[in-house]
């Protein structure tokens, strides 16, 4: 999405603060996969992977990879004590059954009602749906991490999504390279602004009305 490594890590670090001790968490590919690098040692969570792992650990050292132990993106992982393996039916039963506390996903567009589009750009990119629909519809809390504007400088946060939807009314929190916004029934609340941007910058780059309710900044 054209953002530098530093900014991607900055977003991931802010997202990590949403994860509380004891949660069951699923991280999508892209920036979301960086979030686990920023959990403090007092936070112990079970990472769920839709290919059939609960209790995923860090990436293995080079040379220590196990071809039979990968995350949903096909990259090698490790497991933590208490981990388990299961088939895809069970993996998604966990998701649809509402057993996941948080999912952190990437996004192409989010509407002010919390609609999410993240699976296809017609005529351009057709990666497919994967597990995104189930995660977005059924996780208790859905956080979207993305750049605030697209590469043409146009807002990705809109009154209505223009791209095909992944799921309706599903997003709870949006964290971008500019701001943190909560999705509520009465619209979007701007809660934090990332340096060096101002509230005016954020408002100008957002395609939907923002209610400004800054309550302290969790960016660092």
């Amino acid at each position: 999405m054209g953002m530098g490594v530093d900014i991607r890590n900055h977003i991931a670090r802010r997202a990590a603060k949403e994860i509380k001790d004891g949660m069951i968490v699923n991280l999508g590919i892209g920036i979301p996969s960086l979030v686990s690098n920023y959990l403090t040692p007092d936070i112990r969570v079970m990472f769920h992977s839709e290919n059939g792992i609960l209790g995923m650990g860090e990436s293995p050292e080079k040379g220590e990879e196990d071809a039979m132990l990968c995350n949903a993106g096909g990259f090698p992982v490790t497991i933590l004590p208490g981990a388990s393996y299961f088939d895809s039916s069970t993996a998604f039963g966990m998701i649809r059954g509402g057993h996941l506390d948080i999912t952190i996903l990437g996004g192409l567009e989010v509407s002010e009602k919390g609609d999410l589009a993240n699976w296809v750009i017609p005529g351009k990119r057709v990666p497919g749906i994967g597990g995104g629909m189930e995660l977005a519809e059924k996780a208790k809390k859905v956080i979207v991490l993305m750049s605030h504007v697209n590469k043409n400088g146009e807002p990705k946060i809109l009154k209505e999504c223009t791209l095909p939807l992944t799921a309706k009314n599903c997003v709870d929190l949006i964290i971008t390279d500019m701001a943190v916004m909560e999705v509520t029934e009465s619209g979007l609340i701007l809660k934090e602004v990332m340096e060096p941007y101002t509230v005016e910058d954020v408002v100008k780059s957002t395609g939907a009305p923002l209610t400004i309710r800054m309550e302290g900044n969790e960016f660092d």
Partner: protein
């Protein structure tokens, strides 16, 4: 009676235009020996059903990228750009299904169910052409079951009756896929005598498996190298 068979024997069931279901997720857990055999045999116009299109040179991805399939029922093709290209060119028909729903449709196919009720994808393209029902005031889509002429899976260990044990995250869709083939062929890293596997640890009971072939080893570690 042993179900252990030569690769040639197993491949004799996989013919042009057959519906082939495959286990695996992102290449991991695709049965590479059977897939390479299919390519060497020159089978074409396959209708594939499985989680994803693999990678261009890994697992099921090879069948897709060498244009041996005419249709793919799947959840994701992002890891295999050739699949997307063939789709856009009209050389490969792709039907997308949410990932867990694909697994449940396969499970329904193997378990003799008439379908499943799902609320995933209502309001999206997924609902297109699907019947809806109200249950307890909630709207659901009827998702139809999936079966295959031949299902191919990868296992860590098989006994000669076809009881299977999988290997960590390479299990993924394999146990479900194993249930849904009119003929199911398991490729196993290790084949042991009946009685050697602990019944408590068997994931796929041998009832589902028709043939077992010896694996020549996996090729999917290249996904990250």
């Amino acid at each position: 009676m042993t179900k252990v068979a030569s690769l040639e024997k197993a491949l004799s069931f996989i013919t042009d235009e057959c519906v082939l279901m495959y286990g695996g997720f992102g290449g991991v857990g695709n049965p590479p020996t059977i897939i390479n055999g299919i390519l060497e045999k020159g089978v074409k116009d396959l209708i594939l059903i499985g989680n994803d299109a693999g990678f261009p040179e890994i697992g099921i991805g090879k069948i897709v990228s060498r244009e041996r399939a005419k249709k793919l029922i799947t959840t994701h093709i992002g890891s295999n750009p050739i699949a997307g290209k063939l789709m856009v060119e009209g050389k490969l028909e792709v039907e997308f299904c949410p990932q867990g729903i694909l697994a449940e449709r396969i499970r329904a196919g193997g378990a003799g169910l008439g379908g499943i009720l799902s609320d995933i994808g209502i309001g999206s393209v997924i609902e297109k052409g699907k019947q809806k029902v109200l249950v307890g005031g909630r709207e659901f889509l009827i998702e139809t079951p999936l079966q295959a002429d031949v299902a191919i899976v990868h296992a860590k260990k098989a006994d000669t009756y076809g009881n299977l044990i999988y290997d960590k995250s390479a299990r993924n869709t394999n146990p479900i896929v194993a249930t849904a083939g009119k003929i199911t062929i398991a490729e196993a890293e290790e084949i042991v005598e009946v009685g050697e596997l602990d019944p408590e640890s068997i994931i796929t009971p041998g009832i589902y498996v028709d043939f077992i072939v010896q694996s020549k080893g996996v090729d999917w570690k290249w996904a990250w190298e």
